[in-house]
Amino acid sequence: MIEVRNLSKRYGDKKAVNDISFSVGKGEILGFLGPNGAGKSTTMNMLTGYISSTSGQILINGVDILEDPIGAKSNIGYLPEIPPLYVDMTVDSYLNFMYDLKKCKLTRKAHLKEICDLCKISHVRERLIRNLSKGYKQRVGLAQALINNPPVLILDEPTVGLDPSQIIEIRTLIKKLGKNHTVILSSHILPEIQAVCDRIIIVNKGVIAADGTATEIANKLTNEHKMTVRIEGTKRTAEDKDEIISALKAIDGVKYVRADMEREKGVYDYDIESEDEIDVRRAINSLSREKGWNILMLQLSDMTLEDIFMKITTGDIEAVKPEAEKKASLDDFQISMQGSMDFGDESSSDKSADEAEGGEKPAEKSDKKNEKKSKKGGDK
Protein backbone atom coordinates (compact mmCIF):
# COMPACT_ATOMS: atom_id res chain seq x y z
CA MET A 1 0.00 0.00 0.00
CA ILE A 2 2.80 2.35 0.95
CA GLU A 3 6.26 1.73 -0.30
CA VAL A 4 9.16 3.93 0.75
CA ARG A 5 12.53 3.39 -0.83
CA ASN A 6 15.77 5.05 0.26
CA LEU A 7 14.02 8.22 1.26
CA SER A 8 16.22 11.15 2.25
CA LYS A 9 15.60 14.77 3.04
CA ARG A 10 18.27 17.36 3.47
CA TYR A 11 17.92 20.83 4.89
CA GLY A 12 21.15 22.45 3.84
CA ASP A 13 23.85 20.29 5.37
CA LYS A 14 21.54 18.66 7.85
CA LYS A 15 20.03 15.36 6.93
CA ALA A 16 16.60 15.34 8.51
CA VAL A 17 15.77 11.94 7.08
CA ASN A 18 18.57 9.70 5.97
CA ASP A 19 17.94 6.85 3.57
CA ILE A 20 14.96 5.17 5.16
CA SER A 21 13.02 2.36 3.54
CA PHE A 22 9.92 0.56 4.66
CA SER A 23 6.63 -0.63 3.35
CA VAL A 24 3.22 -0.85 4.89
CA GLY A 25 0.69 -3.45 3.86
CA LYS A 26 -3.04 -3.11 3.42
CA GLY A 27 -4.96 -2.85 6.66
CA GLU A 28 -1.85 -2.46 8.75
CA ILE A 29 -1.54 0.09 11.55
CA LEU A 30 2.01 1.32 11.69
CA GLY A 31 3.30 3.35 14.58
CA PHE A 32 5.98 5.88 13.88
CA LEU A 33 7.85 6.59 17.04
CA GLY A 34 10.70 8.90 17.81
CA PRO A 35 11.83 11.79 19.96
CA ASN A 36 11.29 15.37 18.85
CA GLY A 37 13.33 16.19 15.80
CA ALA A 38 13.82 12.56 14.81
CA GLY A 39 12.31 13.12 11.40
CA LYS A 40 8.79 11.82 12.01
CA SER A 41 6.92 14.83 10.75
CA THR A 42 9.37 15.32 7.90
CA THR A 43 8.74 11.76 6.78
CA MET A 44 5.00 12.19 7.05
CA ASN A 45 5.12 15.44 5.13
CA MET A 46 7.04 13.69 2.40
CA LEU A 47 4.59 10.79 2.34
CA THR A 48 1.72 13.18 1.84
CA GLY A 49 3.49 15.29 -0.75
CA TYR A 50 3.57 18.42 1.39
CA ILE A 51 7.31 18.59 1.00
CA SER A 52 9.40 16.77 -1.53
CA SER A 53 12.20 14.35 -0.82
CA THR A 54 15.81 15.08 -1.67
CA SER A 55 16.14 11.56 -2.98
CA GLY A 56 14.29 8.29 -2.86
CA GLN A 57 10.89 7.12 -3.94
CA ILE A 58 7.45 6.99 -2.37
CA LEU A 59 4.69 4.86 -3.82
CA ILE A 60 1.17 5.26 -2.47
CA ASN A 61 -1.06 2.49 -3.71
CA GLY A 62 1.44 1.98 -6.51
CA VAL A 63 1.43 5.64 -7.55
CA ASP A 64 4.64 7.64 -7.32
CA ILE A 65 4.01 10.84 -5.38
CA LEU A 66 6.44 12.87 -7.46
CA GLU A 67 5.32 11.59 -10.84
CA ASP A 68 1.60 11.76 -10.22
CA PRO A 69 1.10 13.89 -7.11
CA ILE A 70 -2.62 14.36 -7.60
CA GLY A 71 -3.21 10.64 -8.16
CA ALA A 72 -1.16 9.72 -5.12
CA LYS A 73 -2.69 12.39 -2.89
CA SER A 74 -6.21 11.26 -3.69
CA ASN A 75 -5.34 8.00 -1.90
CA ILE A 76 -4.29 9.74 1.29
CA GLY A 77 -6.13 11.26 4.19
CA TYR A 78 -3.75 13.36 6.25
CA LEU A 79 -4.07 14.79 9.70
CA PRO A 80 -1.01 17.00 10.24
CA GLU A 81 0.41 17.79 13.66
CA ILE A 82 -1.56 21.03 13.64
CA PRO A 83 -4.93 20.29 12.03
CA PRO A 84 -5.36 22.49 8.93
CA LEU A 85 -8.55 24.13 10.12
CA TYR A 86 -9.98 27.45 9.02
CA VAL A 87 -11.11 28.86 12.31
CA ASP A 88 -13.45 31.35 10.69
CA MET A 89 -15.63 28.57 9.27
CA THR A 90 -18.24 26.38 10.89
CA VAL A 91 -17.46 22.69 11.13
CA ASP A 92 -20.07 21.96 8.52
CA SER A 93 -18.89 24.49 5.98
CA TYR A 94 -15.30 23.41 6.55
CA LEU A 95 -16.11 19.76 5.91
CA ASN A 96 -18.07 20.74 2.83
CA PHE A 97 -15.08 22.73 1.65
CA MET A 98 -12.77 19.76 2.15
CA TYR A 99 -15.32 17.55 0.39
CA ASP A 100 -15.15 19.83 -2.64
CA LEU A 101 -11.41 20.21 -2.40
CA LYS A 102 -10.92 16.45 -2.48
CA LYS A 103 -13.34 16.16 -5.38
CA CYS A 104 -15.27 13.56 -3.44
CA LYS A 105 -17.81 11.62 -5.47
CA LEU A 106 -19.63 9.94 -2.58
CA THR A 107 -23.10 11.19 -1.68
CA ARG A 108 -22.33 14.43 0.13
CA LYS A 109 -24.92 14.42 2.87
CA ALA A 110 -24.69 10.77 3.80
CA HIS A 111 -20.90 10.68 3.62
CA LEU A 112 -20.39 13.75 5.81
CA LYS A 113 -22.98 12.51 8.27
CA GLU A 114 -21.26 9.15 8.53
CA ILE A 115 -17.90 10.82 9.17
CA CYS A 116 -19.32 13.21 11.73
CA ASP A 117 -20.98 10.34 13.57
CA LEU A 118 -17.76 8.37 13.50
CA CYS A 119 -15.73 11.26 14.91
CA LYS A 120 -18.54 12.28 17.26
CA ILE A 121 -18.78 15.84 16.04
CA SER A 122 -22.37 15.72 14.78
CA HIS A 123 -23.56 17.99 17.57
CA VAL A 124 -21.01 20.74 16.86
CA ARG A 125 -21.47 20.92 13.10
CA GLU A 126 -23.02 24.36 13.19
CA ARG A 127 -20.40 25.85 15.48
CA LEU A 128 -17.45 27.98 14.46
CA ILE A 129 -14.21 26.02 14.58
CA ARG A 130 -12.62 28.94 16.43
CA ASN A 131 -14.89 28.25 19.41
CA LEU A 132 -14.20 24.53 19.64
CA SER A 133 -11.94 23.00 22.27
CA LYS A 134 -8.63 21.47 21.28
CA GLY A 135 -10.10 18.00 21.43
CA TYR A 136 -12.93 18.85 19.09
CA LYS A 137 -10.59 20.62 16.71
CA GLN A 138 -8.52 17.47 16.62
CA ARG A 139 -11.62 15.43 15.79
CA VAL A 140 -12.61 17.81 13.03
CA GLY A 141 -9.08 17.40 11.70
CA LEU A 142 -9.53 13.65 11.76
CA ALA A 143 -12.95 13.94 10.10
CA GLN A 144 -11.38 16.01 7.35
CA ALA A 145 -8.79 13.27 6.75
CA LEU A 146 -11.55 10.68 6.40
CA ILE A 147 -13.40 12.52 3.67
CA ASN A 148 -13.48 10.57 0.41
CA ASN A 149 -12.68 7.41 2.30
CA PRO A 150 -8.99 7.28 1.39
CA PRO A 151 -7.29 3.87 1.59
CA VAL A 152 -4.30 5.39 3.39
CA LEU A 153 -4.58 7.45 6.56
CA ILE A 154 -1.59 9.35 7.86
CA LEU A 155 -2.06 10.78 11.32
CA ASP A 156 0.61 12.94 12.90
CA GLU A 157 0.23 12.85 16.67
CA PRO A 158 -3.56 12.52 16.61
CA THR A 159 -4.12 12.48 20.36
CA VAL A 160 -2.11 15.52 21.34
CA GLY A 161 -4.11 17.82 23.57
CA LEU A 162 -6.94 15.43 24.25
CA ASP A 163 -8.18 14.43 27.67
CA PRO A 164 -7.72 10.79 28.72
CA SER A 165 -11.20 9.65 27.79
CA GLN A 166 -10.97 11.36 24.42
CA ILE A 167 -7.60 9.71 23.87
CA ILE A 168 -9.14 6.32 24.45
CA GLU A 169 -11.98 7.17 22.10
CA ILE A 170 -9.63 8.28 19.36
CA ARG A 171 -7.49 5.19 19.82
CA THR A 172 -10.53 2.97 19.54
CA LEU A 173 -11.54 4.87 16.46
CA ILE A 174 -8.11 4.45 14.89
CA LYS A 175 -8.18 0.74 15.62
CA LYS A 176 -11.56 0.57 13.97
CA LEU A 177 -10.33 2.52 10.97
CA GLY A 178 -7.35 0.19 10.73
CA LYS A 179 -9.66 -2.59 9.62
CA ASN A 180 -10.44 -0.86 6.35
CA HIS A 181 -7.57 1.57 5.97
CA THR A 182 -3.85 1.46 6.06
CA VAL A 183 -2.89 3.73 8.91
CA ILE A 184 0.40 5.37 9.75
CA LEU A 185 0.37 6.99 13.13
CA SER A 186 3.13 9.03 14.62
CA SER A 187 3.52 9.68 18.27
CA HIS A 188 6.05 10.12 20.97
CA ILE A 189 3.69 8.56 23.48
CA LEU A 190 4.70 4.95 23.85
CA PRO A 191 1.62 3.43 25.47
CA GLU A 192 -0.42 4.90 22.67
CA ILE A 193 1.64 3.28 19.96
CA GLN A 194 1.66 0.09 21.97
CA ALA A 195 -2.09 0.12 22.35
CA VAL A 196 -2.98 0.85 18.76
CA CYS A 197 -0.31 -0.31 16.36
CA ASP A 198 0.40 -3.70 14.85
CA ARG A 199 3.90 -2.68 14.03
CA ILE A 200 6.31 -0.04 15.21
CA ILE A 201 9.08 1.83 13.51
CA ILE A 202 11.35 3.75 15.82
CA VAL A 203 13.16 6.59 14.13
CA ASN A 204 16.01 8.51 15.59
CA LYS A 205 18.20 11.14 14.00
CA GLY A 206 16.63 10.51 10.64
CA VAL A 207 17.24 6.77 10.46
CA ILE A 208 15.14 3.76 11.32
CA ALA A 209 16.44 2.43 14.60
CA ALA A 210 14.04 -0.46 14.95
CA ASP A 211 11.18 -2.01 13.02
CA GLY A 212 8.81 -4.75 14.14
CA THR A 213 6.18 -5.51 16.73
CA ALA A 214 6.77 -4.25 20.24
CA THR A 215 7.62 -7.71 21.54
CA GLU A 216 9.93 -8.37 18.64
CA ILE A 217 11.81 -5.19 19.25
CA ALA A 218 11.98 -5.95 22.92
CA ASN A 219 13.15 -9.51 22.38
CA LYS A 220 15.83 -8.61 19.93
CA LEU A 221 17.19 -5.80 21.99
CA THR A 222 17.30 -7.47 25.34
CA ASN A 223 17.61 -10.85 26.92
CA GLU A 224 18.11 -9.61 30.39
CA HIS A 225 15.85 -10.70 33.16
CA LYS A 226 15.63 -8.06 35.78
CA MET A 227 13.31 -7.66 38.67
CA THR A 228 12.85 -5.64 41.77
CA VAL A 229 11.80 -7.44 44.93
CA ARG A 230 10.86 -5.87 48.21
CA ILE A 231 11.79 -8.25 51.00
CA GLU A 232 11.09 -7.80 54.66
CA GLY A 233 13.79 -9.50 56.66
CA THR A 234 13.38 -11.02 60.10
CA LYS A 235 15.04 -8.17 61.98
CA ARG A 236 13.46 -5.35 59.99
CA THR A 237 16.66 -3.30 60.09
CA ALA A 238 19.51 -2.55 57.75
CA GLU A 239 21.30 -5.62 59.11
CA ASP A 240 18.98 -7.79 57.06
CA LYS A 241 20.46 -6.44 53.88
CA ASP A 242 23.71 -8.40 53.82
CA GLU A 243 22.03 -11.61 54.82
CA ILE A 244 19.38 -11.28 52.17
CA ILE A 245 21.84 -10.33 49.47
CA SER A 246 24.13 -13.25 50.11
CA ALA A 247 21.21 -15.67 50.30
CA LEU A 248 19.76 -14.36 47.05
CA LYS A 249 23.12 -14.62 45.35
CA ALA A 250 23.26 -18.26 46.28
CA ILE A 251 20.16 -19.01 44.22
CA ASP A 252 20.99 -20.87 41.06
CA GLY A 253 20.82 -18.57 38.04
CA VAL A 254 21.04 -15.26 39.87
CA LYS A 255 23.71 -13.14 38.26
CA TYR A 256 23.57 -9.97 40.22
CA VAL A 257 21.90 -8.62 43.33
CA ARG A 258 21.94 -5.10 44.65
CA ALA A 259 20.12 -3.51 47.55
CA ASP A 260 18.16 -0.47 46.60
CA MET A 261 16.61 2.20 48.78
CA GLU A 262 14.76 1.74 51.99
CA ARG A 263 11.22 1.92 50.72
CA GLU A 264 9.41 1.12 53.93
CA LYS A 265 10.82 1.27 57.40
CA GLY A 266 13.49 -1.43 57.68
CA VAL A 267 12.48 -2.91 54.38
CA TYR A 268 14.62 -2.69 51.29
CA ASP A 269 14.18 -3.24 47.59
CA TYR A 270 16.58 -5.57 45.83
CA ASP A 271 17.38 -5.41 42.16
CA ILE A 272 17.97 -8.91 40.90
CA GLU A 273 19.27 -9.94 37.53
CA SER A 274 19.14 -13.54 36.46
CA GLU A 275 20.74 -15.60 33.72
CA ASP A 276 18.89 -15.72 30.43
CA GLU A 277 15.99 -18.08 30.21
CA ILE A 278 16.01 -18.82 33.91
CA ASP A 279 13.05 -17.79 35.97
CA VAL A 280 14.18 -17.32 39.55
CA ARG A 281 10.93 -16.02 40.99
CA ARG A 282 9.82 -19.31 42.44
CA ALA A 283 13.23 -19.93 43.96
CA ILE A 284 13.13 -16.51 45.61
CA ASN A 285 9.71 -17.26 46.96
CA SER A 286 10.66 -20.58 48.49
CA LEU A 287 13.85 -19.09 49.87
CA SER A 288 11.95 -16.40 51.70
CA ARG A 289 9.49 -18.92 53.10
CA GLU A 290 12.39 -20.96 54.34
CA LYS A 291 14.07 -17.96 55.93
CA GLY A 292 10.91 -16.45 57.33
CA TRP A 293 11.06 -13.32 55.15
CA ASN A 294 8.07 -11.64 53.65
CA ILE A 295 7.96 -10.65 50.03
CA LEU A 296 6.04 -7.41 49.93
CA MET A 297 6.42 -6.77 46.23
CA LEU A 298 7.84 -8.41 43.15
CA GLN A 299 8.12 -6.47 39.97
CA LEU A 300 9.60 -7.62 36.70
CA SER A 301 11.55 -4.90 35.03
CA ASP A 302 12.06 -6.49 31.68
CA MET A 303 12.60 -3.83 29.12
CA THR A 304 9.41 -2.14 28.22
CA LEU A 305 9.04 -0.25 25.01
CA GLU A 306 9.84 2.83 26.99
CA ASP A 307 13.20 1.48 28.08
CA ILE A 308 13.94 0.45 24.54
CA PHE A 309 12.94 3.81 23.28
CA MET A 310 15.19 5.51 25.80
CA LYS A 311 18.00 3.15 24.97
CA ILE A 312 17.69 3.72 21.25
CA THR A 313 17.16 7.41 21.36
CA THR A 314 19.58 8.51 24.03
CA GLY A 315 22.84 7.83 22.31
CA ASP A 316 23.03 4.08 22.61
CA ILE A 317 22.18 3.82 18.98
CA GLU A 318 25.43 2.38 17.66
CA ALA A 319 24.94 -0.71 19.75
CA VAL A 320 21.45 -1.16 18.48
CA LYS A 321 21.86 -0.27 14.87
CA PRO A 322 23.14 -3.55 13.40
CA GLU A 323 20.23 -5.34 15.02
CA ALA A 324 17.87 -2.75 13.73
CA GLU A 325 19.13 -2.98 10.22
CA LYS A 326 18.60 -6.68 10.23
CA LYS A 327 15.11 -6.09 11.44
CA ALA A 328 14.41 -3.47 8.88
CA SER A 329 14.50 -6.07 6.17
CA LEU A 330 10.97 -6.70 5.11
CA ASP A 331 11.13 -10.46 4.65
CA ASP A 332 12.46 -10.92 8.11
CA PHE A 333 9.69 -8.76 9.40
CA GLN A 334 6.93 -10.58 7.60
CA ILE A 335 8.08 -13.95 8.79
CA SER A 336 8.21 -12.83 12.36
CA MET A 337 4.92 -10.98 12.05
CA GLN A 338 3.07 -14.27 11.76
CA GLY A 339 4.13 -15.14 15.25
CA SER A 340 2.81 -12.12 17.03
CA MET A 341 0.28 -10.11 15.14
CA ASP A 342 -1.38 -8.47 18.04
CA PHE A 343 0.86 -7.85 20.96
CA GLY A 344 -1.66 -5.56 22.53
CA ASP A 345 -3.84 -8.46 23.60
CA GLU A 346 -1.35 -10.95 24.84
CA SER A 347 -3.55 -11.76 27.76
CA SER A 348 -2.96 -15.49 27.39
CA SER A 349 0.63 -15.21 28.59
CA ASP A 350 1.28 -14.30 32.17
CA LYS A 351 3.91 -11.90 30.97
CA SER A 352 1.47 -9.21 30.08
CA ALA A 353 -0.07 -9.39 33.51
CA ASP A 354 3.32 -8.92 35.03
CA GLU A 355 4.01 -6.12 32.67
CA ALA A 356 0.80 -4.49 33.64
CA GLU A 357 1.87 -4.54 37.25
CA GLY A 358 5.34 -3.45 36.36
CA GLY A 359 4.17 -0.98 33.83
CA GLU A 360 4.32 1.89 36.17
CA LYS A 361 7.92 1.50 37.15
CA PRO A 362 9.75 2.61 34.00
CA ALA A 363 7.49 5.58 33.70
CA GLU A 364 8.33 6.49 37.25
CA LYS A 365 11.99 6.15 36.51
CA SER A 366 11.94 8.34 33.49
CA ASP A 367 9.83 10.87 35.30
CA LYS A 368 12.42 11.01 38.00
CA LYS A 369 15.16 11.40 35.46
CA ASN A 370 13.30 14.26 33.93
CA GLU A 371 12.79 15.79 37.30
CA LYS A 372 16.47 15.54 38.04
CA LYS A 373 17.33 17.03 34.70
CA SER A 374 15.01 19.92 35.16
CA LYS A 375 16.32 20.51 38.64
CA LYS A 376 19.84 20.61 37.32
CA GLY A 377 18.75 23.00 34.66
CA GLY A 378 17.12 25.16 37.28
CA ASP A 379 20.23 25.25 39.46
CA LYS A 380 22.32 26.48 36.62
Binding site: I82, L85, F97
Partner: protein
Protein backbone atom coordinates in the same frame (compact mmCIF):
# COMPACT_ATOMS: atom_id res chain seq x y z
CA UNK B 1 -10.30 25.70 -7.93
CA UNK B 2 -14.02 26.11 -7.35
CA UNK B 3 -13.81 25.01 -3.72
CA UNK B 4 -10.98 27.43 -2.97
CA UNK B 5 -12.73 30.24 -4.79
CA UNK B 6 -15.91 29.75 -2.77
CA UNK B 7 -14.04 29.52 0.50
CA UNK B 8 -12.06 32.67 -0.18
CA UNK B 9 -15.20 34.58 -1.10
CA UNK B 10 -16.72 33.51 2.21
CA UNK B 11 -13.52 34.34 4.10
CA UNK B 12 -13.42 37.85 2.64
CA UNK B 13 -16.72 38.54 4.30
CA UNK B 14 -16.19 36.68 7.58
CA UNK B 15 -12.80 38.33 8.06
CA UNK B 16 -14.30 41.75 7.35
CA UNK B 17 -11.78 42.51 4.64
CA UNK B 18 -14.54 42.63 2.04
CA UNK B 19 -16.32 45.36 4.00
CA UNK B 20 -13.16 47.40 4.46
CA UNK B 21 -12.31 47.09 0.80
CA UNK B 22 -15.81 47.80 -0.52
CA UNK B 23 -16.32 50.70 1.87
CA UNK B 24 -12.89 52.15 1.07
CA UNK B 25 -13.49 51.93 -2.63
CA UNK B 26 -17.00 53.37 -2.36
CA UNK B 27 -15.86 56.20 -0.13
CA UNK B 28 -13.02 57.42 -2.31
CA UNK B 29 -14.71 56.83 -5.64
CA UNK B 30 -17.75 58.64 -4.21
CA UNK B 31 -15.58 61.60 -3.17
CA UNK B 32 -13.86 61.81 -6.53
CA UNK B 33 -17.18 61.38 -8.28
CA UNK B 34 -18.94 64.14 -6.38
CA UNK B 35 -16.07 66.65 -6.53
CA UNK B 36 -14.43 65.71 -9.83
CA UNK B 37 -17.48 64.87 -11.88
CA UNK B 38 -20.73 66.24 -10.41
CA UNK B 39 -18.98 69.21 -8.76
CA UNK B 40 -17.28 70.21 -12.00
CA UNK B 41 -20.52 69.82 -13.86
CA UNK B 42 -19.17 67.35 -16.39
CA UNK B 43 -20.68 64.07 -17.40
CA UNK B 44 -17.30 62.52 -18.18
CA UNK B 45 -16.42 59.99 -15.49
CA UNK B 46 -12.72 59.62 -16.33
CA UNK B 47 -11.42 62.15 -13.73
CA UNK B 48 -12.76 59.83 -11.04
CA UNK B 49 -11.06 56.80 -12.55
CA UNK B 50 -7.71 58.49 -12.97
CA UNK B 51 -7.80 59.59 -9.31
CA UNK B 52 -8.68 56.09 -8.20
CA UNK B 53 -5.30 54.73 -9.28
CA UNK B 54 -3.57 55.87 -6.11
CA UNK B 55 -6.45 54.59 -3.95
CA UNK B 56 -6.27 51.19 -5.55
CA UNK B 57 -2.53 51.15 -4.84
CA UNK B 58 -3.39 51.16 -1.14
CA UNK B 59 -6.59 49.13 -1.21
CA UNK B 60 -5.52 46.11 -3.22
CA UNK B 61 -2.77 45.01 -0.81
CA UNK B 62 -5.46 44.90 1.90
CA UNK B 63 -7.46 42.60 -0.30
CA UNK B 64 -4.57 40.27 -1.04
CA UNK B 65 -2.58 40.45 2.20
CA UNK B 66 -3.89 37.33 3.87
CA UNK B 67 -4.61 35.17 0.84
CA UNK B 68 -1.48 33.02 1.03
CA UNK B 69 0.32 34.37 4.08
CA UNK B 70 -2.42 33.32 6.47
CA UNK B 71 -2.51 29.79 5.08
CA UNK B 72 1.16 29.42 5.81
CA UNK B 73 0.92 30.94 9.25
CA UNK B 74 -2.03 28.80 10.37
CA UNK B 75 -0.59 25.74 8.65
CA UNK B 76 -3.79 25.36 6.68
CA UNK B 77 -1.60 25.18 3.59
CA UNK B 78 -0.91 21.61 4.67
CA UNK B 79 -4.52 20.80 3.97
CA UNK B 80 -4.41 22.46 0.56
CA UNK B 81 -1.04 21.16 -0.56
CA UNK B 82 -1.82 17.58 0.42
CA UNK B 83 -5.21 17.63 -1.28
CA UNK B 84 -5.48 16.14 -4.75
CA UNK B 85 -5.40 19.49 -6.55
CA UNK B 86 -2.73 21.34 -8.49
CA UNK B 87 -0.81 24.32 -7.15
CA UNK B 88 -2.10 26.53 -9.93
CA UNK B 89 -5.71 25.84 -9.00
CA UNK B 90 -4.93 26.91 -5.42
CA UNK B 91 -3.39 30.17 -6.61
CA UNK B 92 -6.02 30.85 -9.26
CA UNK B 93 -8.91 30.08 -6.91
CA UNK B 94 -7.62 32.75 -4.58
CA UNK B 95 -6.76 35.11 -7.39
CA UNK B 96 -10.21 35.01 -8.94
CA UNK B 97 -11.89 35.40 -5.56
CA UNK B 98 -9.97 38.64 -5.02
CA UNK B 99 -10.66 39.73 -8.57
CA UNK B 100 -14.38 39.09 -8.11
CA UNK B 101 -14.46 41.30 -5.05
CA UNK B 102 -12.57 43.95 -6.94
CA UNK B 103 -15.11 43.81 -9.76
CA UNK B 104 -17.95 44.10 -7.25
CA UNK B 105 -16.32 47.21 -5.75
CA UNK B 106 -15.61 48.68 -9.14
CA UNK B 107 -19.15 48.14 -10.35
CA UNK B 108 -20.32 50.94 -8.09
CA UNK B 109 -19.63 53.07 -11.15
CA UNK B 110 -22.94 51.93 -12.57
CA UNK B 111 -24.70 53.63 -9.68
CA UNK B 112 -22.80 56.79 -10.57
CA UNK B 113 -23.93 56.30 -14.16
CA UNK B 114 -27.52 56.37 -12.97
CA UNK B 115 -26.82 59.62 -11.11
CA UNK B 116 -25.26 61.14 -14.23
CA UNK B 117 -28.20 59.95 -16.29
CA UNK B 118 -30.52 61.90 -13.97
CA UNK B 119 -28.82 65.20 -14.79
CA UNK B 120 -27.25 64.61 -18.15
CA UNK B 121 -26.19 62.08 -20.68
CA UNK B 122 -23.95 59.13 -19.90
CA UNK B 123 -21.10 58.61 -22.34
CA UNK B 124 -21.15 54.84 -22.23
CA UNK B 125 -18.07 54.30 -24.37
CA UNK B 126 -15.77 56.24 -22.03
CA UNK B 127 -17.47 54.81 -18.98
CA UNK B 128 -16.99 51.23 -20.13
CA UNK B 129 -13.50 52.01 -21.38
CA UNK B 130 -12.60 53.33 -17.94
CA UNK B 131 -14.32 50.42 -16.26
CA UNK B 132 -12.27 47.87 -18.17
CA UNK B 133 -9.07 49.87 -17.78
CA UNK B 134 -9.56 49.72 -14.01
CA UNK B 135 -10.42 46.03 -14.26
CA UNK B 136 -7.20 45.15 -16.05
CA UNK B 137 -5.17 47.34 -13.74
CA UNK B 138 -6.76 45.55 -10.78
CA UNK B 139 -6.08 42.18 -12.40
CA UNK B 140 -2.37 43.03 -12.60
CA UNK B 141 -2.17 44.55 -9.11
CA UNK B 142 -4.01 41.67 -7.46
CA UNK B 143 -1.57 39.19 -9.00
CA UNK B 144 1.33 41.24 -7.63
CA UNK B 145 -0.33 41.46 -4.21
CA UNK B 146 -1.00 37.73 -4.18
CA UNK B 147 2.60 37.03 -5.05
CA UNK B 148 3.81 39.21 -2.19
CA UNK B 149 1.41 37.42 0.11
CA UNK B 150 3.01 34.12 -0.86
CA UNK B 151 6.41 35.37 0.30
CA UNK B 152 5.60 36.05 3.92
CA UNK B 153 3.68 34.61 6.86
CA UNK B 154 2.81 38.03 8.16
CA UNK B 155 -0.33 39.69 6.85
CA UNK B 156 0.71 43.18 7.87
CA UNK B 157 4.11 42.80 6.25
CA UNK B 158 2.40 41.48 3.17
CA UNK B 159 0.10 44.50 3.03
CA UNK B 160 2.87 47.05 3.65
CA UNK B 161 5.25 45.53 1.14
CA UNK B 162 2.40 45.34 -1.35
CA UNK B 163 1.58 49.02 -0.87
CA UNK B 164 5.23 49.93 -1.21
CA UNK B 165 5.69 47.96 -4.41
CA UNK B 166 2.51 49.28 -6.00
CA UNK B 167 3.44 52.81 -4.95
CA UNK B 168 6.81 52.43 -6.63
CA UNK B 169 4.98 51.27 -9.76
CA UNK B 170 2.85 54.40 -9.50
CA UNK B 171 5.97 56.55 -9.27
CA UNK B 172 7.73 54.86 -12.15
CA UNK B 173 6.97 57.68 -14.60
CA UNK B 174 8.41 60.35 -12.36
CA UNK B 175 11.37 58.16 -11.53
CA UNK B 176 11.99 57.54 -15.22
CA UNK B 177 12.40 61.26 -15.84
CA UNK B 178 15.55 61.23 -13.70
CA UNK B 179 17.23 58.33 -15.43
CA UNK B 180 20.08 59.68 -17.58
CA UNK B 181 20.58 56.63 -19.80
CA UNK B 182 18.05 56.94 -22.57
CA UNK B 183 17.23 53.33 -23.35
CA UNK B 184 16.72 52.49 -19.68
CA UNK B 185 14.49 55.51 -19.38
CA UNK B 186 12.48 54.38 -22.37
CA UNK B 187 12.18 50.90 -20.97
CA UNK B 188 10.95 52.20 -17.61
CA UNK B 189 8.48 54.54 -19.22
CA UNK B 190 7.04 51.79 -21.36
CA UNK B 191 6.71 49.58 -18.28
CA UNK B 192 5.16 52.35 -16.21
CA UNK B 193 1.65 51.63 -15.03
CA UNK B 194 0.30 55.07 -14.36
CA UNK B 195 0.88 56.70 -17.75
CA UNK B 196 -0.44 53.61 -19.50
CA UNK B 197 -3.50 53.62 -17.29
CA UNK B 198 -4.08 57.35 -17.85
CA UNK B 199 -4.00 56.79 -21.58
CA UNK B 200 -6.78 54.24 -21.20
CA UNK B 201 -8.89 56.50 -18.99
CA UNK B 202 -8.62 59.25 -21.59
CA UNK B 203 -10.36 56.93 -23.96
CA UNK B 204 -7.28 55.98 -25.96
CA UNK B 205 -7.63 52.30 -26.52
CA UNK B 206 -4.20 50.72 -26.62
CA UNK B 207 -4.10 46.98 -27.05
CA UNK B 208 -0.48 46.82 -25.89
CA UNK B 209 -1.52 48.22 -22.50
CA UNK B 210 -4.23 45.61 -22.09
CA UNK B 211 -1.80 42.88 -23.09
CA UNK B 212 0.77 44.33 -20.73
CA UNK B 213 -1.58 44.29 -17.73
CA UNK B 214 -2.77 40.78 -18.50
CA UNK B 215 0.80 39.58 -18.93
CA UNK B 216 1.72 41.01 -15.55
CA UNK B 217 -1.24 39.16 -14.04
CA UNK B 218 -0.26 35.86 -15.66
CA UNK B 219 3.39 36.30 -14.79
CA UNK B 220 2.84 37.02 -11.11
CA UNK B 221 0.33 34.23 -10.72
CA UNK B 222 2.96 31.96 -12.21
CA UNK B 223 5.49 33.31 -9.71
CA UNK B 224 3.10 32.56 -6.84
CA UNK B 225 2.78 28.98 -8.05
CA UNK B 226 6.56 28.74 -8.20
CA UNK B 227 6.86 30.04 -4.63
CA UNK B 228 4.46 27.38 -3.38
CA UNK B 229 6.32 24.76 -5.35
CA UNK B 230 9.72 25.93 -4.18
CA UNK B 231 8.64 25.79 -0.56
CA UNK B 232 8.17 22.04 -0.95
CA UNK B 233 11.76 21.70 -2.09
CA UNK B 234 13.21 23.91 0.64
Amino acid sequence: MGAIYRREMGAFFTSGIAYVFLAGYALFSGLFFSFGVIGSGVSDISPMFSSMFIIVVFLIPILTMRLLSEEKKNRTDQGLLTAPISLSSIVLGKYFAALTLFIIAESIVFIYAIIIALCGEVVWSTLLGNYFAMLFLGAAFIAIGLFISSLTENQIASALIGMFVLFVLYLMDSLAANIPVEFIQKAVVSAAFYSRYLELTRGVFDLSTIVYFISIAVLFNFFSVRVLDKRRWG
